[in-house]
Amino acid sequence: MSETKPLRLLRNVNAKLAAIPMVLTALVVFVGGTVWTVFYSFTDSKLLPKMKFVGFAQYDRLWHNSRWLISIENLAILGTLSLVLTISLGFILAVLMDQKIRFEDTFRSIMLFPFALSFIVTGLVWQWILNPDFGIQSVIRSIGWTTFEFNPLNNPSLVLYGLLIAGLWQGTGFVMCLMLAGLRGIDEDIWKAARVDGIPTWKTYIFVVIPMMRPVFITTLVIAAAGVIKLYDLVVAQTSGGPGNASQVPAMYVYDYMFQAQNLGQGFAASTMMLVTVLIVLIPWAYLEFGSKKHG
């Protein structure tokens, strides 16, 4: 036994050495870092991590903090709206693009280019377009409609829609591409059969194509949901979380309390809650994905 073990370890030694960066990343950063953060979220760490345990006190405070509650509410609203809109608009765009149109590449290039830009750039551009003194509002007022109001970024009840307009601009083209790939993956025979049966095109899309594209929809949903939870740059650039706290998101709370308020424990508790949110999205997906593989 003592002779075979070193031999087994030495087999494929180059491959094992080459995999060290991956193993370290997986264990030290992803597992280690996550465990570390969750662990210290139960401490009273201020500026520096300290092993002074306070139980669930950080979580108790977090869920009584009005800025955090607003952030969570915003996340729920933004998440729902952006998921519904990106997926439905992305699908509709993909269907339009799938109608044997000319200049398909041009149309696609135009719809997709914002995806190459950073959220910082996206946020700043839309901040400018939505600027009440120079942007859309002022332009429409200058052509005669002097009472026209469109100032979402300075109105607490509309600011999320301002973010949404920018977010959709950046992301729908990407979803459209995923959906289009999904549409093109559907067998031509399905269409032929539908035509033979005299089923109208729109009915075929809704009752035949969409159910067949379920995996694409789910993937898109998971990617978009994970993206919304991480949302940070866009808000920083476009609204800085304002007016008031009206466009705050969890990622900003984490950053502010970890680094500005010098309250690491609170920041760790908030980031742990973000992790929990991701798990809520991820676990059902993983269950569906791997569960279905086992069965078929």
Partner: protein, 410 residues
Amino acid sequence: MKNWKLAAGLLLSVALPGSAMATDLEVTHWWTSGGEAAAVAELAKAFDADGQDHWVDGAIAGGGGTARPIMISRITGGDPMGATQFNHGQQAKELVEAGLMLDLTDVAEANHWKDVIYPPSLLDSCTLDGKIYCAPVNIHSPEWLWLSNKAYEKAGIPVPKDWNEFVASAPALEAAGIIPLALGNQPWQSNLAFGAITVAVGGLDLWKKINVSKDMDAAAGPDMAKVFEAAANARKLAAKSTVQDWNQATNLVITGQAGGQIMGDWAQGEFAVANQVAGKDYTCLPGLGLNEYLSTGGDAFYFPKLKDADKEAAQKRLAALLVSPEVQVAFNLKKGSLPIRGDVNLDAANDCMKKGLKILASGNLVPSGDMVWSADVQKQAEDLMVEFWKTDMAPADAQAKWVEILKTGL
């Protein structure tokens, strides 16, 4: 090895003229507005003047809220700068406790800081266990009302003399298409405005009772409720103000688009850059004209421990320089803040600064929020205040939340 280094050093010192041997010291701060940048330039000029040092500017834009995290994570992350700005008070306390900051006691003794720095509370907030860890550079008081004479001229009414008159004048300003109160969106600005209104409406005693004696009954009491009512009234005056930065808000006052702004005395730097004359183009009311006092907030420089002995010597030279009379005058005139020593000549100061000096001399002083509360409490209060100012949150609700926040800092 040691000899080799010595020899190399000698060779270099022969080969190069003295000035090229300058010790670089990176200094981080968040002074990026026009007036602030001009004041920093004075510091840099003075530091470079001795020929053996060089100021490497590490300005971080976006205000203290953005800058402090970067500074702190660099210090705790093992990549310290040569010197860094913090506000007087508790912001760097844990860094000092963790032994990351340079002890400046010898510099302070050699330059008699204990005798010259006024008020003494400034040096106290730099002191931990009898040792001194920071060099204060200025005193800033946040509780000023800045008024645009131009705006009042346009509205055809006299410039108010205190906060109550200002509130009364608001309808006339609005009728003339002027925003009564300019207020930037950044959270700390809402908190600052609230603090100023607390002193103006609630009085100095109430402020001290809550913030110094930490009397939570007073914080939840009826006198404070009146302050919240007053702030709720003031937020209506700022409803049309949509700018982000404090200096953009000041710019609204400078151009007469807004009637007034509650802002610290650093706003003077912006007026100066725009060639505005105190008393003629603008009016300043310390303590909002109701309770004339100064809180002794302000800026101090801390010096992270470095391994390099040359750099440490340069750090100490910079510390001594910051407190020296010449630098104090040059810097504070540009910055619009008050010097940290009473023995300097500030005849060149403008009207507003002279008002501040008079109050300083009279001893009507209180500690600043940064001195009495932790960064954690300050941040929570900012979060609450920015929500309160920008929504229609009921004053009573806000007060209840505010008391809860203060309690986390007890």
